[in-house]
Amino acid sequence: MPTTASPPTAMAGTSRRSGTLYIGDPGMWSWVAHRITGVLTFFFLFVHVLDTALVRVSPSAYNAVIETYKTPLVALLEVGLVGAVLYHALNGIRVMLVDFWSKGPKYQRTMLWGLIGVWVLVMVPGAYFMLQRAVTDLFGGN
């Protein structure tokens, strides 16, 4: 039995949306997400090395830029960055297991749901710790 996407069931031609729209396979979307998260991380790395290089200019120049990393909006972007990197890392491990583990291809789909589960389990407390300060800064509280 094929384990890829189920064939279109609706009659072709009745609607542009029913049954004829290619929605891909989870494996394809995991590959798309791997590319997007990789590119985003690479662009961030470019900026991040430049901002860290300010330690060679002066402590105040470095501290001024690092202060922007502590604002609520950028804290939210940092959660996005950690989420992107974590997905890329977990899916990278899955790719390595598919390539090098004899049973990898058989379990590739199971591993994809597994990595999504691990991602959620890590990101929920991770986002909590990363946004704690932003929330108290924005809405007060003690």
Partner: protein, 145 residues
């Protein structure tokens, strides 16, 4: 004759897989090594980058405790200098190789592909040289402003 020839009797004949006259399949193994490098560097980066993100963004007060003094404290240790230097080089080569693949996949014209790769290689060189220089020449007693 190389791969496949149609003999006079109109039957398809193929060279034996290991026949010595088989043409050299590749001129270089660069793509094989870059494929392997992505997996090996990826494995190291899982530890280096996730460790870095955990320490910098989540542990203690996360990003709120980072300032010049914090960086000076970390780079006083050769361990963290080596950690950051390895992370810089592996991440830049891993990411650069990934972007090279993406440019090859999506650039439609040879000139576009050429200039995008020049841009990529120049930015990689800039980040590698600058980052390495910063780690090796860091001065905790630099004037305040």
């Amino acid at each position: 004759m190389t791969a496949a020839t149609v003999s006079n009797s109109e039957t398809l004949t193929l060279d034996k897989p290991r026949s010595p006259r088989r043409p050299a399949a590749r001129r270089s193994n660069f793509e094989l090594y870059s494929w392997l490098f992505m997996r090996l560097s990826g494995l190291a980066l899982v530890v280096l980058v996730l460790g870095h993100l955990f320490i910098m963004n989540i542990l203690d007060d996360g990003v709120h405790r980072i300032d010049f003094a914090f960086v000076a404290g970390r780079w006083a240790s050769p361990f963290w200098q080596f950690w950051d230097l390895s992370m810089l080089w592996l991440a830049q080569l891993h990411g650069g190789n990934g972007l090279r693949t993406i440019i090859d996949d999506y650039a439609r014209k040879d000139t576009t592909r050429f200039w995008l790769k020049i841009l990529l290689y120049v930015s990689m060189a800039l980040i590698l040289v600058l980052g390495t220089m910063v780690i090796f020449t860091f001065d905790p007693n630099i004037p305040v402003s």
